[in-house]
Amino acid sequence: MKKLLILTLPMLMQLSAQPLLQPAAQENAPAETSSDIPREIISKVDPSVVSIQHERAGGTGFIISEDGYILSNGHVVRGSDAEDPTRPAKSITVILNDERKFPAKVLGWSMDPDVALLKIEGEGFQPVQFGDSRNVQVGQKCFAVGTPSGLRRTFTSGILSNVERTDLNTETVVFQTDAAINQGNSGGPLFDQQGHVLGINTYGFQGRNNLGFTIPIHVALDMIDDLKTRGRFVRSLVPLYFTSEIYDELAQTLGVESGVLITWVMPGSEAEALGLKSGDILTAIDGNSVNARSKADLLKLEWDQSVREGGEETTLTVLRGKQGEREEITFETTLKEMGLLPQFGRHAGEILEHRYAALGLGVKELVDLHHLIHETPADSSGVLVQYVEDNSTADRAGIQKLDIIHSVRGKEINSLTEFRQELETALQENDLAIQIEITRKKLDVVTALAPDYALKGKKIVLLAAATEHEFVDVMMRELLAKGADLEICVPGKSALVRPGLESKLAADVDVSDASALEDVDLLLIAGGEGSRSLLKNEEVLSWVKDRIENKKLLATVGSAGLIPIKAMGGKLELKITLPSADSSRALLQGATYTGNDIEKDGSLHSSTGEERDVIRKFINSLSNALIM
């Protein structure tokens, strides 16, 4: 078991057991009735509840430690990057009850369970106290607080209507309450009459009355350690995912009163390797008997196993055979960690998509769970098509979402790396028709991608810092897919290691030789923190100055926009855009900073480059400039 709950819960409770402030007007306040939320409880909880806002939406959260850790819902902080489902919202602001505002960082989040951990910098914040959400009763009085529909500090009260809700397709049981929970309440606490937090308010049914749902706080506490240290919740891979509770009829037909029925053992799984079989009845784990007569029992059992650490030893005891002939078998194994989750159910997924927007094609690494979710043959390998844009090159080739591409140019594909190697080599060679073989459910289909190669013959050098560069991969994919004659140049390092490009990398480009850029149509400088190191590189500065003075196409992304400003010695007369964090530096050096996502002024093109979509628009804009 992870020790977090056991060790930190009392500690956190002790930390937060501070003297409570009494409301100044209490003496003159009306007398409380039994149905009121006790005033001291409000003053106890209220300072810990925060409003969360970002560029897309917002919600509520609550402080859990004096040094600024905050719990909320995953869906409150979820970002909008279609290719990276793990990316949270960009600029998150936390507003305390005293109106102080803090920029916040998302340390980790999950959509199921719907939990996020954020951090604000500072000390002396007032944390909540935690209740025991494993021991709650239906009918127990509870209160919710949050910022519904943007309304500040809203308290609502009710009871726990159900404490074992399992029919919302969630990974854990959730609480149901009739305390009003509306949009904006998400992420706020549900607390008891002692002011102890029982859960994180999360879902509500729109248009229904008094149907709100809450993640039990113990579930969130089980996850905190992983979210804090690993940025994601890492489940242990216990071979118990295809199981059933033994409900009345099953108990009758199987002739057993307790245990858990193993309904399926996935071929190739740990469970199969262990020797478990479909129809086995699990009766004990580590010598402790297990029993699930209801779905809630089963979810609780599975959750307790999921939160175990990888590497732990475990013993499973099962009954096997027909009624009256059953034998008891014991299996010993070491728990492994579950890999990255694909998108399914409420899970947002943790696997990145690699998109070639110029081809209208996005693919993902194929994992075992994809075969189950999308019902593809378990023995099929390749990459999973995740995105096909209408009327694109991929669409014209007849490629469909959820196809598995298993061969490119006749070469078998077993991984994303191999796919990229083959496809990008073909793009680099400007293949007119790139043969693609597809597994579509049970059928094999052969087709070809015929890219437009709008930038064919255009020579582009992509200059990137050796470390801490951003979106180099995206720019490289898009430029290759457009057929550009691309070289990647990394001053101080021989090459960026990118599949498919080894032969093309500028290992032999002498960065001190400005003439190497004479026939280059575009010099594109990648952004990221690392780009600041290029500010000290005299060769790079001289290239950039030369291109500006001779009106040759130059493009900068993100902080790389500082390079032309420095190269021109503070006399850059062209408009430029940069990330807002660099704006004051640009302005101090006399640059005309605009702050637009994309800026074009003569031969100088620049982009803030903080989002994948902006990068893609920038590449398209550059393409137009190159073609014109």
Binding site: E249, L250, L254, T263, E375, G398, T447, A448
Partner: protein, 453 residues
């Protein structure tokens, strides 16, 4: 009429052509006349369809929605031609307006290659069918007119539209390429300036009536019992899953662009008899090279085959760069044995090769659930709306007995009926995952109609 025109203009529903036809004096008289002739010719033959599509259909998890389109009266008895592939087993509710009368229509035949269906209503009085023998012509640059009916959501009975014929698109069925028309005209008759019926409006263009006539007549004859009967050709097949070759791939590999991949050849079919294999590239049929490219090649093939049981064909494929010719005989699609297990609340059938591929089944040693009776033991799960068994589940064991086919399933069922247990264990595959459930045999006496696959 004038009131209608004013309303139409107010609603901005009409293209300029219609206003030009009937409003201000000074418009070309011929266009006005053309519209009037079209209105006259369409009198009584127009159908306005409104289809409420079910939320979940066999075609996928579709949201419920309502679509409207046009159609044509084909017979006095109430046979209607609709411009979509509406299968006879559809759960969609289809309303048909003929004039001011509203009917509920049912599909009696879908013709996928035509993209049309034959529907039937029970008219209150004999209808006025369209004249299928019309031999009107429409040349490039000519004006064409179409008229659509209306439902009871407004007070207009008909709308008229004009388009230009921009050209003729070649194909097995030729199409008039028309200037844009509203979506609601899809399925409506197209008239020339003299009021002769020349085509049927499609999504973007119009089929040429001359090319469609034999097939529409055959479809109608079959429905009226004057031919071999309905579905005579529907169940006859070539015996392979076909997919058109990608033209870019064809160009790169120097292969014919009018060709079809044999993605999957089924056993005991004409394609199998001809010696064809998965991965062959079909390039000709009965001595004629395939024509067109992309999906139109497939459409061409379907039409050129004209499937009829017992009819032989000769086809040619490319395999490893060599041309291979083969002959085969068209056969009927095999119909799997089925069994209705009323006490459990399901209908099951054997699994054939075509079902395995079409339904993407992961287990063939079992029987597939094709119908589920609401309220039955199989349909009553532990949670509302989540039945224990579902259509497409493949049952591999019932009451502890293997059920590789319907016969074995029947024996297992007989055994259960004799023993009359309170609960029955059922093991099945749902997609790639094995499941085990226990059915409570004491529940369920619903008389509701089954939910068809």
């Amino acid at each position: 009429m004038s009131q209608s025109i004013v309303r139409l203009l107010t609603c901005s529903l009409l293209l300029f052509s219609f206003t030009a036809c009937v409003s201000p004096p000074g418009s070309p008289a011929s266009e006005y006349q053309g519209t009037q002739r079209a209105l006259s010719a369409s009198d009584g033959v127009l159908v306005h369809f409104k289809v409420e599509q079910a939320a979940s259909s066999a075609r996928g998890n579709r949201e419920p929605r309502t679509v409207t389109f046009s159609g044509i009266v084909l017979s006095e008895e109430g046979h209607l031609l609709a411009p979509f592939n509406i299968k006879p087993d559809t759960a969609d509710r289809i309303e048909a307006w003929v004039g001011e009368d509203r009917y509920i229509a049912r599909s009696i035949k879908a013709e996928p290659s035509l993209g049309m269906s034959l529907l039937k209503i029970q008219p209150k009085a004999p209808l006025t069918p369209v004249d299928l023998s019309s031999t009107g012509e429409l040349g490039i640059g000519d004006s064409a007119y179409t008229v659509v009916g209306s439902d009871d959501s407004n007070e207009f009975t008909r709308f008229a539209f004009r388009a230009f014929c921009q050209g003729i698109i070649e194909g097995f069925y030729r199409q008039f390429s028309l200037s844009p028309l509203p979506n609601a005209t899809r399925g409506a008759p197209l008239f020339n300036s003299t009021g002769e019926w020349v085509g049927i409006v499609t999504q973007n263009n119009a089929w040429v009536l001359d090319d469609l006539r034999p097939d529409i007549q055959q479809m109608l004859d079959e429905a009226l019992g004057e031919s071999e009967g309905p579905a005579a050709s529907n169940s006859v097949w070539f015996g392979a899953i076909l997919s058109p070759i990608n033209t870019d791939y064809a160009r790169a590999q120097n292969l014919p662009r009018s060709a079809l991949w044999l993605v999957h050849v089924y056993d005991d079919t004409g394609a199998h008899e001809a010696g064809f294999q998965n991965g062959d590239l079909l390039v000709s049929l009965n001595g004629n090279p395939l024509r067109m490219s992309g999906n139109r090649t497939q459409q061409y093939f379907n039409q050129a085959l004209r499937p009829k049981e017992g009819q032989s064909f000769e086809a040619e494929v490319l395999r490893d760069g060599k041309r291979i010719s083969g002959t085969g005989t068209l056969t009927k699609r095999p119909e799997p044995d089925t069994l209705q297990a009323e006490d459990i609340g399901i209908t099951v059938s054997n699994i054939n090769e075509a079902m395995e591929t079409r339904l993407n089944l992961f287990e063939t040693e079992g029987v597939i659930v094709t119908e589920l009776k609401p309220g039955s033991p199989a349909a009553t799960g532990r949670q509302f709306g989540q039945p224990l068994l579902r259509r497409r589940d493949v049952i591999t064991e019932l009451g502890g007995m293997p059920t590789p086919d319907v016969e074995a399933f029947g024996k297992a069922l007989d055994s259960i009926r004799q023993e009359r247990p309170d609960s029955v264990l059922v093991e099945f595959m749902r997609g790639p995952i094995n499941s085990i459930e226990a059915l409570n045999m004491r529940i369920g006496n619903s008389t509701s109609s089954p939910d068809s696959l």
